[in-house]
């Protein structure tokens, strides 16, 4: 049984982080360069961590499977990043950002972590501006803000519809600077396929070079995983095609606990599915809900009519109707389920009936077409490219899609997993968003973790490790891990079955969407838990991976990732089944109020579920970390 000590510092909420920083152990500057830290991943979390650790004097090795750190999935974030700057003088504060995030997460996050996040949010904006991130500005030259879901203040900083791109390019430039200065050794096209644990501590990784196929072993004093989220378990999602769970899943199999894997976020405003060839779903940023109004026809028979032919009186602006005080800006899980209910009632629009309208006609009247173009032009362009329709002329059609995973590897307040020496940052960990993430807060978390948390907390661990004590990469543990990775590739290549990897990914996606998607039931989850092991067997027996292991082989890469997704999918269903309540993104149909809202059970489930691997084919162990709410009262979320 794993020990889950959250290591939350004692004392008043607002003092915890400050106090912790002064209590934490430091590494003597002269000793820093004797320590080597491996950072896997260079999205917002990984690049900010790698460059910060290098600037502090540690030797850093950074691995990414991409051809350049600038390609990380963070690049695709559109809408913005939150910070409690209160530049709008609208009553924002660190406490309010903390409170909104805790409430948005449906009271399933740790108070102390979230408060720290809100505190450092202001430093993130300073840091990014200093790096040259071209945030939107007002005419006076000061920074501009917009509103995002789940908040009644305007605290979101943005760079047109490409905030993630600009933040990542900022972090990438910091990483590039440290690589250029010889402080970070960067390895691109390098996929981590195993974690090496020596004497109970994380001490290295096994890497496959995606171009040559070469398997290499790397040892270090500590390992940082910042490898992003696992939403591609669903096959169709807003994630980049390459986003995967392999690093965290293999770390799980080496003993790191996986926390709340069933917490997935379904984003309300995505372009609906159009055909079975489809490879990804495209997000239409939440920022659009600032000016767009969401509606469905009141009458079923209107659903195939042109929207312009549906009279104002026959339109149901359902979010404004059900949630008058937050309206179109209610949180994502709430908005997604409401849209699903409209479609379930037979009022969905578009050929498939799985869609609702996001309408800008009022905004165009108010701001003019150019005003709307200024704010959202690139999003309207994307919509047009994909659907061949102009959102200036007719409302967008949108439907919810998988977008983010709140679950991830369990970490303590120091962002260290239960395997000492293994740190997990960004979307790959489970820490800050509870059961539902508010918009514009993943970018905030990734950069908070990398720039402002890990630089302190890694030192606390390293100070307890003797300089020069890291094991040699020639040791038995390294060899065994490298051999198992090679054996796995060989198994995939030797199966020579009938089905391409994509066949299994699609099948997995459908099982997960049907049974572990926006609405879950005991029955459905139980049936998924029957289907998934069968799918795993089918994969092992009939997958077809052409080519060889010693060249660029995209089918082989994909095979490993999909094999991991199938296993992770099973754990997600198991977690969803055992969490007999509804909270945030986890909606169990059996647990709801009469009006369809989530019914939490704080008594029985006011905790983190952290799953521990028990060996192949064995049921994993469900460990529990109680969530002690000292400062906020757990209450029913109300956005009405």
């Amino acid at each position: 049984m794993a020990t889950l000590d959250s290591k939350i510092p004692s004392g008043p909420l607002a003092d915890k982080w400050r106090k912790h920083k002064t209590d934490i152990k430091l590494v003597n500057p002269a000793n820093k360069r004797k320590y080597e830290v491996i950072v896997v991943g260079a999205g917002l979390a990984g690049s900010s961590a790698a460059s910060s650790l290098a600037d502090m004097g540690y030797k850093v090795k950074c691995f990414v499977f991409h051809d350049s750190p600038r390609r990380a999935h963070s690049i695709a974030a559109q809408g913005g990043i939150n910070a409690a700057k209160n530049y709008q003088n609208d009553g924002d504060s660190v406490y309010r950002l903390f409170y909104d995030t805790i409430k948005g997460g449906d009271y399933r996050a740790r108070e102390a972590n979230v408060h720290r996040l809100a505190e450092v949010s202001v430093n993130i904006i300073d840091q990014c501006v200093a790096q040259g991130v071209p945030f939107a500005r007002e005419y006076g030259g000061l920074l501009a803000n917009r509103s995002f879901g789940g908040a009644q203040v305007s605290r979101t900083f943005y760079a047109r519809g490409q905030t993630g791109q600009q933040l990542l390019l900022g972090a990438y430039s910091a990483l590039s600077r440290t690589v250029g200065a010889g402080l970070v050794e960067l390895h691109t096209h390098s996929e981590m396929l195993d974690l090496v644990v020596v004497g109970g501590h994380a001490k290295g990784v096994i890497i496959r070079n995606l171009i040559t196929g070469e398997i290499t072993r790397h040892s270090a004093d500590a390992v940082v995983l910042a490898t992003g989220g696992y939403g591609n378990v669903f096959n169709l999602s807003t994630y980049a095609r390459g986003s995967n769970a392999t690093a965290i899943w293999r770390a799980y199999k080496r003993g790191a606990c996986m926390a709340n894997p069933c917490y997935t976020q379904i984003h309300p405003t995505c372009i609906p599915v159009s055909g079975d060839y489809q490879s990804k779903l495209t997000l239409m940023s939440e920022s659009l809900r600032n000016d767009g109004r969401i509606w469905a026809p009141k009458k079923k028979e209107d659903r195939l009519k042109a929207p312009a032919d549906i009279a104002e009186a026959d339109r149901d602006y359902f979010l404004e109707r059900i949630y008058p005080s937050f309206g179109n800006l209610c949180p994502r899980d709430v908005a997604s389920r409401a849209a699903k209910r409209m479609c379930d009632e037979g009022r969905g629009v578009g050929e498939t009936g799985l869609g609702v309208y996001l309408d800008f006609s009022d905004a165009i009247k108010r701001l003019g077409e150019n005003g709307v173009r200024e704010r959202y032009g690139n999003l309207f362009d994307i919509y047009h490219e994909i659907t061949n329709e102009s959102a200036y002329k007719q409302p967008m059609r949108i439907y919810p899609a998988v977008h983010y995973t709140m679950g991830g590897l369990w970490v303590d307040y120091n962002l260290m997993s239960n395997v000492p020496g293994l740190f997990v940052l960004g979307e790959a960990n489970f820490s800050d968003h509870g059961a539902n993430r508010l918009g514009a807060s993943a970018l905030m978390q990734g950069l908070a973790d990398g720039y402002f948390v890990i630089p302190y907390t890694v030192g606390d661990y390293l100070a307890g490790q003797k300089p020069g004590s890291r094991p040699s990469a020639d040791g038995a543990e390294f060899k065994a891990a490298a051999d198992s990775v090679s054996a796995m590739s060989k198994r995939f290549l030797d199966t020579k079955g009938k089905q391409p990897v994509s066949y299994f990914h699609k099948k997995l996606g459908k099982i997960m969407w049907d049974h572990c998607g926006m609405a879950r039931t005991k029955e459905g989850l139980e049936s998924a838990l029957q289907k998934l092991p069968a799918l795993r067997e089918e994969f092992n027996a009939t997958v077809n991976v052409p080519g060889s292991a010693n060249t660029l082989n995209q089918s082989l890469e994909q095979a490993g990732r999909v094999a991991d997704f199938i296993e992770l999918g099973e754990l997600m269903c198991r977690d969803a089944l055992t969490r007999e309540e509804s909270c945030g993104g986890h909606f169990r149909e059996e647990y709801q109020y009469a009006d369809g809202e989530c019914k939490r059970d704080d008594e029985k489930f006011g905790h983190v579920a952290a799953w521990e691997f028990q060996g192949a084919g064995k049921t994993p162990l469900r460990n529990v970390e109680a969530l002690n709410y000292e400062f906020v009262k757990m209450s029913v979320r109300n956005y009405k």
């Binding site: 460059s51 600037d55 991409h66 051809d67 350049s68 750190p69 600038r70 390609r71 999935h73 690049i75 695709a76 300073d126 840091q127 990014c128 501006v129 200093a130 790096q131 040259g132 071209p134 500005r137 030259g141 000061l142 920074l143 490409q162 600009q166 430039s173 910091a174 590039s176 600077r177 690589v179 250029g180 171009i211 980049a240 095609r241 159009s274 055909g275 060839y277 489809q278 490879s279 990804k280 009519k305 042109a306 050929e351 994307i382 490219e385 659907t387 061949n388 329709e389 059609r397 720039y451 402002f452 630089p455 391409p500 994509s502 066949y503 077809n544 052409p546 060249t551 660029l552 089918s555």
Partner: protein
Amino acid sequence: MVAASSTKSISVTLRVWRQSGPKELGQFKDYSAKDLNPNMSFLEMLDVVNDELTARGEEPIAFAHDCREGICGTCSLTINGKPHGPGKGIATCQTYMRSFHDGDIIVVEPFRAAAFPLIKDLVVDRTSFDKIMQAGGFITARAGSAPEANGLPVPKGDADRAMDAAQCIGCGACVAACKNASAMLFVSAKVGHLGLLPQGQAERDRRVLAMVNTMDEEGFGNCTNQYECSAACPKTISHDFIARLNRDYLSASLRSAFRPEAASTGGGGA
């Protein structure tokens, strides 16, 4: 007008560059892609073709892609001689089959340039771009050292213009489109972005000299003002930034000749 797009299917022939490794010989091979939904993206079409190849026991076509929404800069196909294909201001992944006609022969090649060595089939190595960035594509600002963000107002016009340049996705289409394989548009976008901001002044000279020198070392060609780069650029980065880069480079060179320390500092105020 719900779902205005037509769904009459089309069939095309793909003439694809196949090359199993950097040292092997490459050649075009024809593949037929039948009954395609015109709302399919070009890359989704390749996915389907690849699954068919796999089923036939052939190696699928290697191509680079990730976000599939025009922002990561990974996709890099030259389609019918045009980097990123026929559309203007879009990346390969934003190309839809509705841009083609039934019966078309579509020629698909990698982004070709000496500084982008071929890895396999349609995949090339753009590490040279990272090298240029590592030489100077940054503002030095260690975490924890930043002043209050609103302490330094930036005129909206400058911020907007910086953002125009900062949108570069680092795809390399500009290089592939240029007969000299010059990387000037890419470099000018970064130099323009950082040089337009007050934060970027301190390292302005050093940055431009280091980036341009590394560009030369990495084997990119010279710019002869043909502007094929802007035409192919998925973010329509303007070639005005190249003129700006040239001015910056010239004045930085002059300053560093008279005052060598300028090459290692900003010199912006001189």
